[in-house]
């Protein structure tokens, strides 16, 4: 299922793009993230725990930058399996699009497509549908806060 969140930041695209180049900081905005390790250029290992109702699972994901179009868009893809809690695996494609706004800020559109497989996918389907929306919303809010903090600090 595909979910989209949009928010604007009153920092110019150049600043926002600079933030997004630091994938580690981006990954830290993922709700429930515990650790982010660099595996190689544009490849990361992200450990994140998600709680859906009573089901909880800790996913170890290999995240990869699929495409970078400076100041315009960034695409990531992740594949992972649960290492603790409910058995399941996760695939997600996340795309971030940037657009300068007339007031000099940047409109950021986050599009993510999450597929949860294995037992968790089969049975957690009902709960996951509403949960993914919440995860993406929180991810967007965390990004927004992180960018603004970065801006203020500059």
């Amino acid at each position: 299922m595909q979910i989209q969140e949009t928010f604007t930041v009153d920092a110019p695209p150049t600043a926002v793009w600079k933030f997004f180049e630091d994938i580690e900081r981006v990954a830290r905005c993922v709700p429930g993230v515990q650790s982010v390790d660099v595996l190689g250029p544009d490849r990361y290992k992200v450990l994140a725990t998600q709680k859906v109702g009573f089901i909880s699972a800790t996913f170890e994901m290999a995240t990869q930058v699929e495409s970078k179009d400076p100041l315009k868009s960034l695409a990531l893809s992740s594949v992972g399996k649960s290492v603790k809690g409910a058995i399941g695996n996760l695939r997600s494609k996340d795309r971030v699009d940037f657009e300068a706004t007339p007031e000099g800020g940047t409109r950021v559109t986050l599009t993510s497509e999450v597929a949860v497989g294995g037992m968790l996918g089969a049975l957690g389907h009902k709960a996951i549908v509403s949960k993914s929306k919440e995860i993406t919303e929180k991810f967007a809010q965390a990004l927004q806060a992180e960018i603004r903090a970065g801006e203020a600090g500059r």
């Binding site: 595909q2 594949v79 399996k81 597929a115 037992m119 996918g121 089969a122 389907h125």
Partner: protein, 781 residues
């Protein structure tokens, strides 16, 4: 030959006593000491490359004896062969385990053998598998799209096989016909879903260095042949035993990957190895069925004479060619019971990243009946004719049979119109049509729908199958042996999975030997000690089995008459066997017990000169041609035109399966098949998410098998037109009930909503699908 005493008798079943007491012996009830239990790790993705498997932690887990990976399986075994491949099918190497690439969610990737299933599953979680998900396709349309991911290098553009069957001049007929209708129909992917899942126990017999395999199977001998081939063993060194089987419905035919896995683990560990399929594995491993997309065209003249048929259809095969293969009878039975000489049937079998497809009660006949009978109703409506009248005009008359249909098979006998009229009279069709207009006012719409079918039962001959490349014959075989107590024992390779063969076989043998069925024991399902057998499927067992028993028991009866003649000093020609004795036909007081005769055979005295001792015969019977049952289903529904909700008010089936060996068992088979027909028509569907490629409802909670509260009372009636081409005029009956349900219900709903011009063209029929069809009809205006 006077009428056989036990033929047509509703004898209570021999199988019942042990099953009712709970002392039936199903696969998981077979327990041996030192047995290891297998848990199988399965690919969670619809399509993925397996980059690495690390089993070290699992091997170290206490209680784990062995771990098996795809690399070992592929190295040590052959790919699974297909029992009934379509001619010209491209190979899809289906091994016991995926090695580099897994092609459907659920494909085995690793297996653990441990002291018990709980420990084996704990160990599975310690195995790290690095998957690289690959692009997938879960619809036939996506699989055929240019640039679609190719599942097998050996199968260009994902089309395993393509075929065309033509008869007459379809193109000219279609062009000349005054009325043509066309429809595209989507048939749902379903599962036979017996209450007992699959299971296997493999044991390496050290003493005889042979492999013993207990399996929940309908075809012990075919499984034995296929498994031996996969394991690169001679068939002589493999024995398959089918204990009681908890339902099968076509899904437990042939060898499965798990049989190969269990066998390898047993050979490696030198201990019995048991795998019991749990229900989530079942929905991702046991054969799925029926999914197809048909674009059908029918043409008729102004007066309602059916002229031609053209069908373009795609079968969704799943990721591999399974142990049996896709349904073949869709092609063969598409024309149904109608007088049609011109047809063009084009079929493509397409690969998708889903569980491989196999047979399910009807093997293509429910699919072809659905598309034809729904379009026949639309054609009749287009011509302004009553659907019943249109059918009466086009149904083959008894005098036109035997009739060779457009696909080349010959219907033997039957009175198709009488079946239709009988069913319509039960629903009070004439008066119904009148009342229907008046009751349509308050938003409640009542409709009657019908569907006529001819059913292909049994195979026409081993030659027919052999010419088609089948890896099994059409015959069946039995060994009949008397014992000193004067009782008989039948040894058959046909296992017991609910169809009542133990009882019906005993009835036929008893009738021929002059015994009571209670005096006929049945040894079944064990490839050791039974003659080569094909097994229980395709509504063939009764036909072929009865023929084999007739020959074997006949030989024994004749020998008993000769021995009786010697003991009584009477010409054997004047004797008969009946009620446990051999006696003079014209003077019953001159008699000798069958027990005494049997004892003579085993003492070797007194015997006619030159007669060998013993009273035993083995016989094979190859049916000369298949028999065609037929019938009509008439359904009455009431539909709420606002919500789409509907009630199945009446379900009437009139069928003809020729001579009935045991009417009680026949009725049970028909009721069970009707229930599965309604289940696939209204409730069940295996749903794959197109984006993620995953099976969305792979549990019993979300796969809606109907309960007793979901099904109506079925009103059954039958005609009995013996077949001229089978032993005792028997026709198969196991599958008939499933064939016409979907079309009859669809036609009834469309009839109820005729004022709105509603057309339904996908299964299952649900309240939501009716609501959407109503909205579509309104949009069309």
């Amino acid at each position: 030959m006077d009428k056989l005493p036990w033929l047509g008798a509703s004898v209570k079943r021999k199988e019942d006593d042990r099953l009712l007491r709970g002392s039936g012996r199903f696969l998981d009830d077979v327990e041996e000491t030192l047995t290891l239990h297998v848990a199988i790790g399965r690919c969670p993705y619809p399509h993925a490359r397996i980059r690495s498997i690390d089993v070290t932690r699992a091997l170290g887990h206490s209680g784990v004896e062995a771990v098996l990976t795809g690399q070992q399986v592929v190295a040590r075994t052959e790919a699974i062969t297909a029992l009934r491949p379509f001619a010209g099918s491209a190979p899809t190497a289906f091994y016991g385990m995926a090695q580099e690439v897994a092609r459907y969610e659920g494909e085995p990737v690793v297996a653990v053998a441990a002291v018990d299933r709980y420990v084996a599953e704990d160990a599975l979680e310690l195995i790290d598998i690095d998957y690289e998900p690959l692009p997938h396709v879960v619809t036939v349309e996506d699989a055929l799209r240019p640039g679609a991911p190719q599942l097998h290098a050996t199968v260009p553009s994902n089309v395993v096989v393509e075929s065309t069957v033509r008869a007459g001049e379809p193109d000219r007929r279609l062009a000349d016909a005054t009325v043509t209708v066309e429809g595209t129909f989507r048939i749902n992917r379903v599962s036979g879903a017996p209450i007992e899942t699959r299971g296997v126990i493999a044991r390496w017999a050290e003493d005889s260095s042979t492999l013993e395999l207990w399996a929940s199977t309908q075809t012990p001998h075919l499984l034995r042949a296929q498994l031996a081939h996969c394991l690169r063993m001679d068939e002589t060194d493999v024995r398959v035993i089918a204990p009681d089987v908890g339902g099968a419905f076509g899904l437990k035919i042939g060898v499965y990957p798990e049989d190969i896995i269990a066998a390898l683990l047993a050979i490696d560990t030198r201990r019995p190895v048991k795998w019991i399929e749990d229900r989530t594995e079942f929905f991702r491993g046991a054969a799925h069925a029926r999914e197809a997309v048909h674009t059908l065209t029918l043409a008729a003249d102004r007066d309602g004479t059916l002229r031609a048929l053209r069908d373009r259809y795609l079968i969704d095969l799943g990721a591999y060619h399974g142990p049996l293969g896709p349904p073949l009878l869709t092609n063969v039975m598409l024309a149904g019971p109608y007088r049609l000489h011109d047809a063009d049937i084009h079929r493509r079998v397409v690969l998708t990243n889903k569980v491989p497809m196999g047979a399910y009660r009807g093997y293509g006949q429910a699919e072809s009946n659905y598309v034809r009978e729904v379009l026949v109703d639309r054609l009749a409506r287009r011509l302004g004719q009553d659907p019943a009248d249109f059918r009466r005009r086009n149904l083959l008359r008894p005098d036109e049979l035997p009739f060779k249909n457009v696909s080349g098979v010959t219907y033997d006998s039957g009175d198709y119109a009488r079946g239709l009229d009988l069913a319509l009279s039960r629903v009070g069709y004439e008066t119904f049509r009148a009342r229907q207009k008046e009751s349509g006012q308050q938003g409640r719409h009542v409709g009657v729908g019908m569907s006529c079918y001819v059913e292909f039962t049994g195979y026409p001959s081993s030659a027919f199958l052999g010419r088609g490349g089948a890896r099994f014959g059409a015959y069946e075989s039995v060994t009949v042996r008397m014992d000193r107590a004067g009782r008989a024992a039948i040894s058959t390779g046909v296992s017991t999975f609910g169809q009542g063969t133990e009882t019906t076989f005993a009835q036929i043998a008893a009738s021929l030997l002059g015994l009571d069925p209670a005096d006929v024991a049945i040894h079944r399902g064990d490839s050791k000690g039974t003659p080569y057998s094909v097994g229980g499927f395709a509504s063939r067992t009764m036909i072929a089995g009865a023929g084999a028993i007739e020959k074997a028991a006949g030989q024994i009866r004749d020998k008993m008459l000769r021995i009786g003649g010697t003991i009584l000093g009477v010409d054997p020609a004047a004797l008969e066997t009946t009620t446990g004795v051999v006696r003079r036909r014209d003077d019953p007081s001159v008699q000798v017990s069958i027990q005494r005769v049997s004892e003579a055979a085993f003492l070797g005295y007194p015997l006619p000169p030159g007669e060998d001792p013993g009273l035993e015969a083995t016989a094979y019977f190859d049916p000369p041609s298949s028999a065609f049952g037929y019938g009509t289903v008439v359904v009455q529904v009431e539909v709420n035109a606002r919500s789409g909700e509907f009630a199945l008010q009446r379900y009437i089936l009139v069928h003809d399966c020729g001579t009935q060996v045991n009417p009680m068992i026949v009725e049970g088979q028909v009721q069970g098949a009707v229930a599965q027909g309604i289940a696939a028509a209204l409730f069940e569907e295996l749903v794959y998410d197109r984006d993620t490629g995953q099976l969305v409802n792979g549990t019993m909670v979300d796969y809606f098998m109907p309960t007793a509260a979901d099904l109506p009372v079925f009103e059954l009636d039958h005609l009995e037109t013996p077949s001229p081409v089978t032993p005792f005029g028997i026709k198969g009956v196991g599958e008939g009930g499933t064939i016409a349900a979907a079309a009859a219900i669809t036609n009834a709903v469309c009839d109820a909503l005729a004022p709105f011009g509603v057309e339904l063209d996908r299964l299952p029929v649900t309240a939501e699908s009716i609501w959407r069809a109503l909205a579509a009809a309104r949009a069309k205006g």
